[in-house]
Symmetry: C2
DNA sequence: TGTACATCAGTGAACGCGCGTTCACTGATGTAC
DNA sequence: TGTACATCAGTGAACGCGCGTTCACTGATGTAC
């Protein structure tokens, strides 16, 4: 009767073999991740979710209590692993070169991990579109995004930046992170939405000038953009650090 | 009976004085700009719009044919003047110093104009939130944003960049613009949404570390961020231009 | 100038539809004694 | 081991509500002759 919270995977009994049986709850989470990321919170109805998961409409409220709470759980399920991957990547690089990696190495690691995680990780695209929606309109889960991902990652990278370039003060480091994150989000979204937008424009040649490299394979795009953002950001960070 | 397109302002006759009388259509456009920018296309109902404008529900379909078309007209009404302000600002700077402004001056003009226009211009905040929504989900009007604003501004600034720094090739200039626009959008949205997000977090002190300068007056924030983005981007662009 | 008709902006009520949620229920499994 | 009851996942149908749009209509103004 009440809202469940624990069993994400049940073992079906009643047959002579014990087989893994994906529960209604898990099926709903999978379907919700896919649909919410594609169409947004308001763009998905409970009937859409139930149909995609192959379950009854009442199942959403039975297992999650509300559509809002299902969305919240979808976010947490993606955000927490992503945070842990990111923090681990930053700390791994911070520990290199006897705990004093160069500014460029640190920036390269952050940029490269971010791009790979967003564009090549299996969960990446879903999470990315959910994050983009939250950054434009934080009303449905913006607090979760900040608490579970943005603030923890900021804290770790901020400390690493100050160690790698001691001339920076705290606020400068914060703005540099903002400059890097802004670039990364822009280039990631650009890739994700390029085709959707280009399709609607009258003049494909003009649009292709704004979106060069869209015909590249995703791995090539990642390498290309990682190289650009690393070079640009290292130059930018050094300019800030050496400024008056 | 049919969808109207021309008269945005009518002069009321029938009184002995001729007074300006804001028409139902204009009232709807004003209300729609405010509500769509605050709550998004799906977050606003025709009844909300009619109530805010003080007109009948049927007026939206009478004057605009559909909710979608009203949204479209709201976008065009904001995007076209913004494009013209931006293009004029870039061309003004390009013409300085005998048509050869320094890379830093060009970048400063672009950054500074963008920040002022987004954060201090009367239409700025509405347009900004509409643009953020379109960049996250271009389904309702993304084509208008690209055609009327992004592509024309890109073309003009791209040409100006190549003139100011001839070592850049076309693709490098495009990526540099992407790096700049990404930073600008990030810092603009950060200011806009800071308070909404911070209110929901448990630990205000931690959040304030991520959002320093939020207590600044808006003019100080603009100057502060313009100085950072200009320095960072000039350093970044020179690093790209001088790279192998 | 007067009259007949057309065109206009705007209205109030209703249309059918999809929405999130709730309710009473089923049938399988777990637990107590 | 058997029986009675509790707990569970899941269901089908219905709830009331707000949605975008449409319809028949009003009354003021413009136009033709």
């Amino acid at each position: 009767l009440a809202v469940q919270s624990v069993p994400l995977l049940t073992l079906s009994r009643g047959t002579d073999r014990v087989t893994t049986d994906i529960s209604t709850k898990e099926r709903l989470l999978e379907a919700a991740e896919k649909l919410f990321s594609r169409d947004g919170f308001d763009g998905v109805s409970i009937r859409d979710l139930a149909a995609a998961a192959g379950v009854n409409v009442a199942a959403v409220n039975y297992h999650f209590g509300s559509k809002e709470n299902l969305h919240h759980q979808v976010l947490e399920r993606l955000l927490i692993p992503k945070r842990e991957r990111l923090v681990a990547a930053i700390e791994r690089t911070s520990a290199e070169s006897d705990g004093r990696p160069s500014l460029e190495d640190l920036i390269r690691a952050f940029v490269s991990h971010h791009l790979h995680d967003a564009l090549a990780h299996p969960d990446g695209e879903h999470l990315l579109r959910l994050m983009a929606a939250l950054l434009a309109d934080p009303r449905h889960g913006g607090d979760v995004l900040f608490r579970e991902l943005i603030l923890p990652v900021h804290r770790v990278f901020h400390a690493a930046l100050l160690r790698a370039e001691p001339r920076l003060d705290s606020r400068q480091a914060t703005w540099i992170i903002g400059s890097m994150v802004g670039q990364l989000l822009h280039f990631i979204m650009r890739r994700t939405h390029a085709h959707a937008v280009l399709r609607e424009l009258d003049d494909p040649a003009e649009a292709a000038r704004y979106f060069p490299a869209m015909e590249m394979a995703i791995e090539d795009y990642i390498e290309h953009i990682a190289a650009h953002v690393t070079r640009f950001s290292t130059g930018g960070a050094l300019a800030v650090a050496s400024g008056d």
